[in-house]
Amino acid sequence: MRRVNVFVLGLGVLVLAGCTAGIGVTGSDGTLPTPSPTTPQQEVIVAMLRGDDAQPTMSDEQRETLLEILATGEVTFEQYQDAVNRTLDCATDAGLKIDGPRTVDQGGQPTITWGWSDPAQPDGDPKLGEYCRNVHSLGVEQAYLNSDVALEDERRQLEAYRPQIVACYADNGAPLDDPDMDIFDMLNDYESLGGTRAGIVESCINELDIVVIP
């Protein structure tokens, strides 16, 4: 019965979102008003809002939060946490079991992790939970995880691999002109080598098993 209620609620949200999609997001010509996306955070927000315009799923609350973040570039942990909690409430109402949530302090900012399981699915696949997430928090999560703070932390994690990446170039006959270059540029610089040397350096970098927590 609970599940039916959730679906009815979900349909209601869809209808509501369909009625309000575009408020303050798209102009009559279908283009987004200012600001034009210039940061990864703005890009991902705009992409998600556009996706939602095409297939409305987000709650009004999530859309409003995203527009706020788009305008200011600021996203707080509380905004992120509130959005995730709404997702988890929705999933619990749908009958899913939740493990967590846990706040993890591993990177430049705290993040929230959790597990979920749908007892009604043979493998526990939480499709309903991911649906709830689309409605309530996925966009806000993406805005948070692509904030300047998060990207700086990713850069910090990558810096640990710099000496090994530099060695991949040097040891394969393609020493870098500037070993202090931007780490993201360095990761992709092998493309400019062309030919088999590019492939060798790429393989070397891949073998480093570089891993980051987004």
Partner: protein
């Protein structure tokens, strides 16, 4: 009784660890944006890497806790860099199972239709 329970618990734990070890090898899958997504596993998490050309990827893993198998919420990465593995974070002390990767351009949500579980022995097309 307590001893029996702890022995049973240990047996389950060891079984899960063996299961985790069995799925350890990586697997890869061609994806819809022309790159190659590779899933790797470590003891307590899964990660997706080598995704040149893709706009976005996602990864999650299956783990056992409190008597139930759970999926971690999908970890999405927007504009992934080639050569970097993006981690599905640790969900619990005991972890095992399956990871998935998906490429979902032009859709920003990971449509279930585009998910293919990648196991140790199979290669899947997204």
């Amino acid at each position: 009784m307590k001893m029996r329970r702890s022995l049973a618990g240990a047996a389950v734990g060891i079984g899960l660890m063996i299961a985790a070890a069995c799925i350890a090898p990586s697997a890869s899958a061609e994806n819809s944006c022309g790159g190659l997504a590779m899933i790797n596993y470590s003891a307590d998490h899964a990660y997706v890497k080598n995704v040149g050309g893709c706009t976005s990827v996602a990864v999650r893993h299956h783990y056992f806790a409190a008597g139930t198998w759970f999926w971690t919420a999908m970890t999405y990465k927007y504009l992934p860099s080639a050569g970097i593995g993006y981690v599905s974070p640790n969900g619990a002390e005991l972890n095992s199972g399956q990871a998935c990767a998906a490429v979902y351009y032009p859709s920003w949500t990971c449509a279930y239709g585009s998910w293919e579980p990648v196991t140790a022995t199979s290669y899947s097309s997204f």
